[in-house]
């Protein structure tokens, strides 16, 4: 049985000249072969060892998706230390909480931003002894007692390697598949972050069954831009990479993610719904702005009649090429549900898109859709049969799993462990679902299933997804817990609604203005009515309806916790932040004044009745 360090050694010896990692830097794609990767990891691991990192110590890895981070993770693992990936944009408070919780001794940071974030609290973190950063820019004026640059660190490592040539391989060989490989903090739609401890075998055995089932080869070109702080990214990008030894490609900068993807032309892709929706919206709005009737005709018939041979040659294969989707063999969406319309669009376009299902506790993957699911009704929520080696059952509507991917437990959180892991090893996912002929159908996250005051259940997320299919709607929040009916807070997409408003020859100044325009209100009200009638169609005449709704004057804000970093909404925080507004919606008034801290009017929202 393999571990991450042993797999690295395998690739480094068996396919040393194959490209392991590419990153666009300075306008060209720089490659690292497997032996380059092994060298870097060796140096870095020696640097860790030289500065006193011991097996079992925690190493916080904070930054975006860049090669040195991959190296740091591997280096830590080679020493038997446990990497704890964290999000690059985390605030000081968030980081402090996580670093304290995991008792990190080392932290590897990308640049000044992360240094600043933890520098304020470094004195309060006595465990944290070494901080390493890659990017030298802006770092001149810092107190370097705790800080080391990556280069300094590698020099230390080279020195150490000379003195202890076989140190790393000795330590590595002691690592077993059941050793801890990662602590991954849950994304936390439900509040506090918890660190799931995952072993090498959690990732590697599940990963092996995944690649066997999906036929992933060692020649894949994988495009990777996601932060490594999610279990699913670690699974789809990192673990599968180590298993198959394919090539990972990282973009040059945040602004060039889409352009760089075209250059890569990946054969395998993993992304959250938001990513797919962005590309979808771009294609849609470019189609709407075009004068070409050819394009419009083909696009409008795509969803109903599928691709014709000519249409494929003239339009669709070209669109795929423009977005770098033309070579895709495997595209996966996970983390949340992609709305049906978008999902169907990709399928119709001929992109082999599959929904996956997994949680941090399950090393990022429990199941993946098969071809049969993509044609089913609710294809977007049918997530396939559990992977071999993983068992799934529905317990009181909640999806539970056990198997090779089952985590060791939360780090230093016995209480929560006991809460979700049963005596016989079943782990509650917290998601509501059903089994449809052995395939999992995810319905709703459990803590988000709401009950009306009448006692009836409803599932806000499904309704929200129905809204999100509209290109004009960025986010929707459905509220109804302990009420008689639902109300909706809607965030419009400033760009597409702006473009729409321009086509209508409307005057407007910005999102805040658009949100209160009659025309926009009418546009969104139509959508609400459509969703309502759709619910009635499915759930019968007595089905609860969205009685009232309003358009918010701003976007939801991740920095105050209204969304997670992966852009999932946090319903409880929103309900709290917008309490007064929601009360107003239920009270039946038709205007609501938003004021700032000085009490000055910011916007007057219009509360609509469907």
């Amino acid at each position: 049985m393999e571990t991450f360090p042993s797999l690295l050694q395998q690739h480094a010896t068996q396919s040393s000249n194959r490209t392991a990692l590419r990153m666009k830097k300075h306008g060209i794609w720089n490659s690292y072969t497997w032996s380059d990767v092994a060298d870097e990891v060796q140096k870095l691991a020696c640097g860790f060892a030289a500065t006193g990192l011991k097996p079992g110590d925690k190493v916080a890895i904070i930054g975006n998706n860049v090669p040195p981070l991959f190296f740091s993770i591997l280096a830590a693992q080679s020493l038997g230390a446990i990497p704890v990936p964290m999000h690059a944009d985390s605030t000081t408070a968030e980081l402090k909480g996580l670093l304290e919780n995991c008792e990190a001794r080392f932290a590897v940071l990308q640049d000044q931003q992360q240094v600043d974030a933890i520098y304020e609290v470094i004195k309060e973190l006595p465990m944290l002894t070494e901080v390493i950063y890659f990017d030298e820019r802006g770092m001149r004026d810092y107190d370097h007692t705790h800080l080391k640059s990556y280069i300094e660190f590698e020099e230390l490592g080279e020195q150490f390697a000379k003195e202890h040539p076989s140190f790393i391989s000795d330590v590595s060989s002691k690592i077993t598949p059941d050793s801890e490989a990662f602590i991954v903090y849950t994304a936390g739609t439900s509040g506090t972050c918890r660190g799931a401890v995952l072993t090498h075998s959690n990732f590697l055995s599940t990963g092996q069954t995944f690649v066997d089932q999906e036929g992933i080869s060692d020649r894949e070109e994988v495009y990777s831009y996601l932060p490594l702080s999610y279990a699913s990214t670690l699974f789809f990008v990192y673990a599968l990479w180590m298993i198959k030894g394919y090539t990972i490609n990282c973009p040059e900068s945040n602004e060039t993610i889409l352009a760089d993807m075209r250059e890569v032309g990946p054969t395998m892709l993993y992304g959250p719904p938001h990513f797919y929706k962005t590309i979808y919206s771009q294609i849609q709005s470019r189609t709407e702005n075009t004068k070409s009737s050819l394009l419009r005709r083909h696009m409008s018939s795509l969803m109903t009649q599928g691709r014709t041979w000519l249409g494929d040659k003239l339009v669709f294969s070209q669109i795929k090429d423009l977005y770098g989707l033309s070579k895709i063999k495997h595209a996966y969406v996970g983390g949340d549900v992609l709305s049906e319309e978008v999902f169907k669009f990709y399928i119709a376009l001929g992109v082999n898109l599959r929904a996956t299902y997994g949680t941090a506790e399950s090393a990022g993957c429990i199941s993946v859709q098969d071809a049969q699911d993509t044609n089913a009704e609710h294809a977007e929520t049918m997530v396939g049969a559990p992977l071999p080696g993983v068992e799934v059952k529905i317990d009181n509507k909640e999806i539970c799993f056990k198997g090779t991917n089952a985590f060791k437990g939360y780090y230093r959180d016995e209480a929560q462990n006991n809460l979700i892991v049963s005596a016989d090893g079943w782990i509650k996912t917290g998601d509501i679902g059903e089994m449809v002929s052995d395939h999992i159908h995810v319905l709703e996250r459990s803590d988000c299933v709401s009950k009306f005051s009448t006692g009836a259940d409803f599932m806000p997320k499904q309704i929200e997804n129905a809204f999100k299919a509209s290109p004009y709607i960025q986010d929707a929040v459905i509220v109804g817990e302990q009420k008689e009916h639902m109300v909706a807070l809607i965030v419009i997409n400033a760009e597409s609604v702006g473009a729409w408003a321009e086509r209508q020859q409307m005057q407007f100044t910005g999102l805040r203005d658009l949100a209160t325009k009659d025309e926009v209100t009418a546009l969104i009200s139509d959508k609400v009515r459509e969703v309502n009638s759709c619910m009635e169609h499915v759930g019968g005449a007595n089905c609860p309806q969205i009685k009232r709704h309003t358009i918010l004057h701003t976007e939801l804000n991740a920095s105050v916790g209204e969304m997670t970093r992966s852009r999932k909404i946090r319903r409880d925080i929103i309900a709290n932040n917008y309490k007064a507004l929601i009360d107003a919606l239920y009270s039946g008034v038709d205007k609501y004044d938003v004021t700032d801290s000085n009490g000055d009017l910011v916007a007057q929202l219009r509360l609509q009745t469907a």
Binding site: I28, W29, R262, V264, S292, K320
Partner: protein, 368 residues
């Protein structure tokens, strides 16, 4: 539709700086040059097509490229193109006449160098004079050339008529020619002259492309776009201008030599008059300032239009109906109108039209 760019990873700076960065463009140009220009045309084109269409178009294209280097890339207006061509033509003639061992391509090259040196002399005022004032210098070059070859019969080897008929090539075209199956007669034929012209033209295009994508070309364009800024960042404006004049007139000189040797087959200073200078300038404008492709598109259009009109007239009304005066006036009106319309609608000329089309193909089907 034609371009498929997903999955093209540029892995080195050398890759990124290729002459034709897109695979499709490389394929198309190779096919065109090797397949069409070298094989198909050489094999099947008639003598008329070769010597009255292809050769002059290429020769004029080279002259246009020359002018484009000075005007389009470096921003130095020149009205002396034909004059510079004549220096090349006369230099080539005298080199071949007076140097025993002279090979034709070498003569062309040296003719270019000599013309280039003349170009430097007439470019010298550019160090002090700017903008329209500079056309005085290039016009002086034009009139000076017309005068000097007339006033000093030595240049024409004391021919009384003022015109020398050139046997296409007095001497061997290249060394070790006897080792090849192609004899002198072949190189004297339109096919042989076509191949020489084509090869030289392609070499000059490649050289020009190399220059414009390197420091040389950037310096030219910097001087064109804003000479003070260029000076301040350490570009020697004087050197850059003179270099541009040299390269520009080198191209014109080679074009002049090819014009007399490969195209008309005689040497006549009357041909290289001011009107021809203007014709070349029209080619630059129509084709597009600062574009290599445009230089040739312009040459093809301006040279080809009267021929097309004549041919059309012959075809519609029967042979010889259209008199030359009509054709000439017609093409003047058409070319004049096209120039004005292009300047208003598409100041980048045909080259810009081509690039727009290409860009549309690259973002198809989202092109507006």
């Amino acid at each position: 539709m034609y371009y498929r760019e997903a999955g093209r990873l540029v892995k080195s700076f050398a890759d990124d700086r290729r002459m034709l960065p897109l695979k499709e463009d490389r394929l198309l140009s190779t096919l065109f040059v090797v397949g069409v220009m070298y094989i198909l045309v050489t094999a099947f084109a008639s003598d008329y097509l070769l010597s009255a269409i292809f050769i002059p178009m290429m020769v004029l294209g080279v002259a246009t490229l020359g002018l484009n280097i000075a005007t389009g890339y470096t921003g130095q207006l020149s009205l002396g193109t034909a004059g510079f061509m004549s220096f090349g033509a006369f230099a080539a003639f005298n080199l071949v006449l007076r140097v025993d061992w002279m090979y034709i391509p070498l003569a062309f090259f040296l003719a270019g160098v000599i013309a280039g040196l003349v170009g430097i002399v007439f470019g010298l005022p550019a160090l002090r004079i700017k903008g329209f004032y500079l056309i005085v210098s290039t016009l002086a070059a034009q009139f000076f050339s017309e005068w000097i070859f007339n006033a000093y019969p030595w240049f024409l080897n004391y021919t009384t008529s003022g015109v020398v008929n050139l046997p296409p090539f007095h001497y061997r075209v290249f060394p070790f020619q006897e080792l090849t199956p192609l004899n002198d007669a072949f190189w004297h034929s339109s096919r042989g002259r076509y191949l020489i012209t084509l090869t030289i033209t392609i070499a000059l295009i490649v050289a020009c492309k190399n220059m414009v994508r390197s420091s040389t070309g950037r310096n030219w364009m910097a001087v064109r776009d804003m000479d003070i800024a260029a000076n301040v960042i350490g570009i020697s404006v004087a050197k850059t201008k003179l270099m541009a004049f040299f390269v520009s007139t080198f191209y014109c000189g080679v074009a002049g030599a090819m014009y007399s040797y490969c195209y008309i087959g005689n040497l006549d200073f009357m041909i290289f008059n001011l009107r021809r200078s203007f014709l070349v300038m029209f080619m630059v404008i129509v084709g597009g300032l600062g574009s290599i492709l445009g230089s040739f598109l312009g040459a093809i259009f301006v040279y080809g239009w009267p021929i097309l009109i004549t041919r059309l007239g012959d075809w519609i009304f029967g042979g010889g109906t259209l008199d030359t005066a009509f054709v000439e006036n017609n093409s003047k009106i058409v070319v004049g109108t096209i120039i004005i319309v292009l300047l208003i609608r598409e100041p980048g000329g045909f080259a810009a039209l081509w690039n727009t089309t290409k860009q549309k193909l690259r973002v198809w089907p989202f092109s507006k």
